[in-house]
């Protein structure tokens, strides 16, 4: 038999059902790869023994009714997992063991999957390179010196390297789509409200969404279906019907109208990215889609507005880490000093920067100038999309303004790091669904993704368009295994 870990999630689910192999064989195959991957530094917590136990038990019971029956899955360490350490990549949570399970992971387990481990990420999901994690940076399978992107960098790297058949991440400003683009994998940020936020360590609550990260578009539809749905424990969860994304998945996209926003042609964009975008347009034309030039006029204001809204929400969300009920505690002469020392020792530099910016923009006298201004601009950005979607069914853009960069290249300059998310952030501000699909390579042989943005709750259309691109781009992950 060829290596099980080379198969797609869909092939693995079907193979277990058809008894081509057992859940235990599948699990051992991924554990074997994972054990040899220390240099990638993707895992924060390994649950290998428990996974094998679960798999053996599954093989005895043979209950094939779930969408993910018998499949081990490693997840970003931002999802709370009952009785399994959940760190959010931070020292302040280095010893935190939740007493509850996040709704989204619970949904995966109720479809027959089980936990393989918890994957590295930027601290509290704040970063675009996985360099802010307390547990060290993750490397990209495409090169020992390259970042995997972030914040779901451990997830993207583990997925690309064959350490897990699929994974889930979270996306507040691009944290699923950018690492997917950097590692040649598929990542989808669902519509805000599509997947429950309950039990996910909060970063910026009006922007955070969990989503699937997979090797191909077919797997993405399957995993999205498993994790979507209404949850009364999340007050912003949408009570909207969930499609059967898999059965409705089709590459027939003839007649769909695709918008190409001129504002995404940014200054200094590498030629390779521009060329890829053109190729994407050609693929969709060839599939019968109609290309239309559109304008999203306030795009240039999205990133600065995001860097008010996200830190403001983060500064309030992270107020809970005070060293009293859980997590790291430092000593102090009195209560206030204990808080201050705990937070100083427990948070890393990027998290501190964002808490301070958030505190500043919300502090007395500045609310109108910053937060209110940003929410007004957010409305304008959303209006741009609403207007565009009167004329088009989806929007095609590059996922990122560059391919994976070197570890250390941008870590000294926060603003240059933030610019990575220039194409992904407007989507979060507007609550829309978007997917990154691998579509080609740049001149350095590094993968590049294309982004498709959809109407609210129309993940199906962007999945279908991605499938049409996937079939034509015929993208193959082509790195050499250097980490074993």
């Amino acid at each position: 038999m060829s290596n099980i870990s080379d198969l797609s999630l869909t092939q693995i689910v079907n193979g277990i059902k058809k008894k081509d192999f057992t859940s235990e064989e599948v699990t051992k195959s991924f554990i074997n790869n994972s054990k040899k991957s220390k240099k990638l530094n993707t895992y924060i917590t390994e649950c290998f023994e428990e996974a094998i136990k679960f798999a053996k038990n599954f093989d005895k019971k043979k209950d094939y009714n779930g969408l993910l029956s018998g499949v081990p899955i490693a997840v970003k360490d931002l999802f709370c997992t009952k009785n399994v350490k959940t760190t959010a990549g931070s020292k302040i949570l280095h010893n935190f063991i939740p007493t509850y399970e996040s709704t989204v992971t619970n949904k995966l387990w109720s479809q027959g999957a089980f936990l393989l481990g918890k994957l590295n990420c930027d601290e509290f999901a704040m970063g675009s390179s996985n360099e802010t994690s307390f547990f060290g940076n993750v490397t990209n399978p495409y090169g020992e010196k390259l970042v995997p992107g972030g914040s779901s960098g451990g997830s993207a790297s583990a997925l690309a390297a064959g350490l897990t058949p699929a994974t889930i991440g979270t996306d507040t400003g691009g944290s699923i789509r950018q690492p997917a683009s950097f590692t040649g994998t598929v990542g989808l940020k669902p519509t805000y409200g599509r997947c429950s936020r309950w039990g996910i360590v909060a970063f910026a609550s009006s922007l955070d969404q969990a989503g699937p990260m997979t090797r191909d578009v077919t797997d993405c539809a399957l995993l999205l279906q498993a994790m979507s749905g209404y949850d009364n424990k999340d007050s912003t969860s949408a009570n909207t019907k969930v499609n059967n994304f898999t059965s409705q998945l089709t590459e027939k996209v003839k007649g769909l109208k695709i918008g190409i926003p001129k504002e995404y042609r940014v200054e200094n964009m590498p030629n390779d990215i521009d060329a890829l975008w053109k190729k994407g347009i050609d693929y969709l034309k060839e599939a019968g889609a109609i290309i239309k030039n559109i304008s999203l006029e306030h795009t240039m204001y999205a990133l600065p507005a995001y860097y008010i809204v996200a830190p403001a929400e983060a500064s309030s969300n992270l107020a809970r880490y005070d060293g009293v009920k859980y997590g790291h505690r430092a000593r102090g002469k009195n209560l206030i000093e204990m808080y201050e020392n705990t937070r100083s020792e427990g948070f890393g530099n990027e998290v501190k920067r964002r808490i301070l910016i958030g505190t500043y923009v919300l502090s007395s006298g500045y609310y109108d100038a910053y937060y209110l201004k940003a929410q007004k601009i957010r409305q304008l950005i959303k209006n741009d999309f609403d207007k565009a979607f009167n004329d088009v069914d989806a929007i095609l853009t590059p996922s990122t303004p560059s391919s994976a960069f070197k570890i250390g290249d941008k870590s000294d300059d926060p603003v240059s790091m933030y610019l990575n998310d220039i194409f992904t952030v407007p989507v979060n501000l507007s609550g829309l669904p978007a997917i990154s699909v691998p579509a080609g390579y740049d001149k350095n042989n590094l993968p590049l993704g294309l982004q498709l943005i959809g109407k609210p709750f129309d993940e199906q259309t962007i999945l279908n368009l991605s499938l049409a691109i996937e079939k034509r781009a015929n993208f193959k992950r082509n790195f050499k295994v250097w980490w074993c």
Partner: protein, 95 residues
């Protein structure tokens, strides 16, 4: 808007994060460059724009205030850095 060293100290106090004196300078530089980036927004007049209040079209739902889990005091206390019987322990606040 530049964020000088005194402002850095003030907002650190508000955010309850103690700062080493030798980090104040570099934080002031970083935060100033972030605020400069953010202030591009001032180029745009938004006087007549209503701020976005929610990206979800539904109003927030309320639910009954019922206990559905609970009775996990011991488990909860296990996560605390310091506890005593049924309580979280913090440094003394009343002399």
């Amino acid at each position: 808007m530049s964020i000088d060293k005194d402002t850095v100290k003030h907002i650190s106090k508000l955010a309850r994060i103690s700062l080493d004196e030798n980090k104040v300078e570099s934080l002031s530089k970083d935060l100033t460059s972030i605020m400069k980036f953010i202030e591009k927004l001032n180029k745009l007049n938004t006087d007549n724009v209503k701020p976005l209040t929610s990206i979800v079209n539904a109003s927030l739902k309320s639910r009954n205030d019922e206990i559905k889990d609970g009775k996990i005091r011991e488990q909860i206390l296990k996560n605390s850095p310091e506890s005593n019987e049924e309580f979280f322990v913090v440094p003394k606040i009343i002399e």
